[in-house]
């Protein structure tokens, strides 16, 4: 990319980091090319902590209830958090990305690795807040050593991440040595042409001598990025040490860190083998427990799933014995890669590339959910989704949904532009992917996401809207992540209530609920659906990764009081927060930090005209068998459940039994909604009560005014 003219320039004195904070935010408005520093106030730190909290606060102040994702007022905020950037504790380099989502119309948040957030902070900025729109493609460059921010023209050059990130790393690094000091945020042409665009955040892998990327995947933040005509954001900072975050009490951090490194050294090989296969270890487990989405979530397992398990990827594809971490110090090192992969299709056919492949969610979405069981297709699709800037989870959902519609005769080649979208057709799936990249044909329509695709199909074919709703796996407009929740009521809630839409990072309760049966009553489930979403929010306030919390478990965890909470690791978090900020917190205060932001995000959905009970309703397939085939595939289980519930199923047809089961499950779901809202301090409509917002200290006048409009 030949970066052209400098359009705006801003010089600054990089702030010294104090106890995890730079105490300043970099604000850029692309419409009028303003670049300025904004103070991070004590009140912001008190109430919103950092990361996603800061992102939501800035966005709240930037938009009105009428703002659309592609209005110039919409912002993209990238922020780490106070713990972000420490090099000792595994998983401490994450960025929270917040923007109004093109898919949901509400705030979306993503938690992404790569070096951007730590280097941004050490350059003197807790957050980067971007508003406005450029009229031509631009590059934003932040030099944290020189204290210089520029907006530069980017008129020519590559369109897709793997080339953009590589070229800009080359260009802005002074030498091979210097490449590790650079992180590039970029997206690809697919993000421009669909609503499911992602942001790729890079880091330089010194062992491979390759630029790697991690994804802020959900909800279309890449689409907003490209709509603002940002080609890339580059941060450069040289001088990262173990003290760069200037913690208050380093000893506390070191002790927790070494304890965890030791645990990972001793136990990872016996537990999840994250160091060998990353999250891909889940494919086999989910298939065994009948939880792996197969063919648009119709089924939970498939005999051919053995072809796409971690064993296959480990044997043939994932490079072994490389510390694959996405920030310094993560010994869990799940960021696996396939080296020297020769691309088979599309514009990069024949190129040899290093693919950040493949995580569990991607494997399940692009492969099993589309009835495809071919590992090389997974790598190919993963590569193109990343470089085009497309979300693998949404992509897999879209293709699975379209394939089901095709197989059921709801759509045909006329609609698909000649694509034979049968389950298992990898070639057609890849063609659709390339069409999304180019913004052409059926790919352009499908790239609007499952919800809009459904509406399009209904309009074009007159198909039954109720049935299509049952089988279109989206809630709030966002596609569901990769767990079959049919037999776990708690997980149905985990998905349906999630603030940003159905992503498991808010609550993953299937095993607790369905397999280990630890939360049998409504109250138990409500408690879990209070605690875990709140607890899990905490990572994104701090710049932390969730995986080192429960993807490695201390040897004596089982004998603790609450093994599912991993108490020893929660204590580590209390220690490192205190170690960084010098603020002594308890576990309860840790939760309170999250609960504030969690409720604030819920209220933000209200501000955008959503966020009430009706938006927490999932498609029926998330709750149970939506079709005869699904019922019959688990007939024994469903028949048994109906009998136990006292239904007379003698001589009843499958359709009749489906109706009974549906009635029952829907009523259970409604009871769950009531129990969870109550536990969270929300009214029956899902609106946080005045008492709740007061208790949490987020009773700003506009918040109070907003929720009072919903007062029953």
């Amino acid at each position: 990319m030949t970066t052209g003219k400098i359009l705006a320039k801003y010089e600054y004195q990089p702030a010294k980091i104090e106890k995890g904070y730079a105490n300043q935010t970099l604000y850029i408005n692309l419409s009028d090319r303003t670049i300025k520093a904004k103070p991070v106030t004590e009140q912001m730190k008190q109430i919103f902590t950092g990361g996603r909290g800061f992102g939501l606060w800035y966005l709240w102040n930037a938009v009105s209830g009428d703002t659309k994702w592609n209005d110039p007022e919409n912002e993209i905020i990238i922020a780490g958090g106070p713990i972000c950037g420490i090099t000792q504790y595994p998983g401490s380099g994450k960025a929270a990305v917040v923007t109004l989502s093109p898919l949901t119309g509400c705030p979306i948040d993503n938690n992404v690795g790569g070096y951007f957030a730590p280097l941004l902070k050490f350059s003197g900025w807790d957050a980067l807040e971007i508003q406005g729109k450029a009229d031509k493609d631009v590059i934003i460059f932040i030099d944290g050593n020189k204290g210089l921010v520029t907006i530069e023209e980017a008129d020519e050059g590559h369109d897709d991440t793997h080339l953009i990130a590589e070229e800009l790393t080359e260009k802005y690094a002074d030498s091979e040595e210097d490449k590790r000091n650079i992180s590039v945020v970029s997206s690809g042409r697919g993000a421009e042409n669909t609503l499911i665009g992602i942001l790729n955040v890079s880091f330089y892998d010194v062992k491979r001598k390759a630029v790697r990327v991690k994804q802020a995947g959900r909800g279309g933040s890449g689409t907003v990025f490209r709509d603002k005509k940002i080609k890339a954001i580059i941060v450069k900072y040289k001088g990262v040490t173990g003290d760069s975050n200037n913690p208050a009490d380093k000893e506390k951090i070191i002790n927790a860190a070494i304890r965890l490194h030791r645990e990972i050294f001793e136990l990872d090989k016996l537990q999840n083998r994250m160091r060998e296969v990353g999250t891909a270890h889940l494919v086999g487990i989910m298939n065994d427990y009948d939880l792996l989405p197969v063919m648009n979530f119709q089924y939970g397992s498939h005999p051919d799933a053995v072809k796409i398990t971690s064993e296959v990827f480990r044997e043939k594809y994932f490079t072994q014995n490389v510390p694959d971490n996405c920030w310094h110090g993560c010994s869990l090192s799940c960021a696996k890669a396939v080296d020297n992969y020769e691309v088979k299709t599309g514009p990069y056919k024949g190129q040899k590339v290093c693919v950040d492949a493949a995580e569990y969610e991607t494997i399940a979405a692009v492969a099993s959910n589309c009835g495809i069981f071919d590992p090389e297709y997974v790598i190919e699709a993963n590569f193109y989704c990343d470089t085009y800037g497309l979300d693998t989870i949404s992509f897999g959902n879209i293709v699975g949904f379209a394939m089901e519609c095709y197989e059921r005769g709801i759509i045909n080649k006329e609609i698909t532009g000649g694509l034979e979208l049968k389950f298992g057709n990898a070639e057609a799936a890849l063609e659709l992917l390339h069409q999304m990249g180019r913004g052409e044909g059926f790919g352009e329509i499908a790239g609007q996401g499952v919800k809009r695709l459904r509406e399009y199909i209904i309009e074009k074919t007159g198909a039954d809207p109720a049935f299509l709703r049952d089988i279109s796996m989206e809630v709030k407009g966002l596609e569901v992540s990769m767990y079959v929740s049919k037999e776990s009521l708690a997980q149905q809630g985990g998905y349906a209530f999630a603030n940003k839409g159905p992503q498991h990072d808010e609550a993953w309760l299937i095993f607790m609920d369905m397999v280990n049966k630890q939360i049998p009553t409504f109250e138990d489930k409500a408690e879990a659906l209070h605690y875990f979403p709140v607890f899990r929010t905490w990572f994104s306030l701090q710049g932390l990764c969730k995986l080192p919390w429960n993807d490695i478990i201390p040897a004596d965890n089982a004998i603790t009081n609450e093994p599912h909470k991993i108490p020893a690791h929660v204590q580590n978090y209390v220690d490192i927060f205190t170690g960084v900020t010098g603020k002594n917190i308890t576990r309860e205060e840790l939760l309170l930090q999250s609960e504030r932001v969690f409720n604030f995000q819920r209220i933000f959905n209200l501000k955008m005209g959503r966020g009430t009970r009706e938006y927490d309703r999932p498609p029926f397939r998330l709750m149970g068998p939506a079709t005869k085939e699904e019922y019959e595939s688990r007939a024994e289980r469903y028949d048994k459940q109906l009998k136990e519930l006292g239904y007379d199923i003698e001589g009843k047809t499958t359709e009749e039994k489906m109706t009974m089961l549906r009635q029952y499950r829907e009523s259970q779901f409604e009871k769950l909604v009531d129990a969870v809202y109550k536990r969270r301090g929300w009214d029956k409509n899902g609106v946080p009560t005045l008492e709740t917002v007061k208790k949490l200290g987020i009773d700003f006048p506009d918040v109070v005014e907003l929720i009072s409009r919903y007062r029953e």
Binding site: K250, A257, I258, H261, H328
Partner: protein, 131 residues
């Protein structure tokens, strides 16, 4: 190369090795900054445990920034310019022979200089040629 070996049964726990080591590495006399550690071993028999790097090199591939390397003389060394103080090698050392101190960014690790051996009054540590 020559590396430090121990005969813990001869150790009296005087700590002279740790003082010598911290002096050689950091010009201070502080056992907490030493790359060799003598620890009391509760129970019967041998009273002290001596932990020091045997330069096995298992930590080399653990480091993601290539700060750990094998030097020309065969010793496993840390490049202080590259080390980001992540301490992964500390947790992954099979012999618990890499150390840290809150005032020192990089890990504290034996460089096989022999200062500790010279300081030991009992011969509980000695240099041995290995391949």
């Amino acid at each position: 190369m020559k590396m430090v070996k121990a005969k813990p049964e001869l150790c009296t726990g005087c700590g002279a090795c740790m003082i010598a080591c911290s002096k050689a590495l950091y010009k201070v006399e502080d056992p907490a900054k030493s790359a060799i550690r003598v620890k009391e071993k509760p129970g019967t028999g041998v009273k002290y445990e001596i932990a020091v790097c045997n330069h096995c090199g298992e930590c080399i591939p653990i480091c993601s920034v290539e700060a750990v390397y094998r030097a020309k003389n065969g010793a496993v060394r840390i490049d202080h310019g590259k080390c980001v103080g992540c301490y992964m090698c500390v947790g992954f050392c099979p012999h618990n022979a890499i150390f840290v101190h809150r005032d020192i960014n990089e890990t504290i690790k034996c460089i096989a200089c022999g200062s500790c051996v010279k300081a030991c009054p009992t011969g509980a540590i000695y240099m041995e040629e290995i391949n």
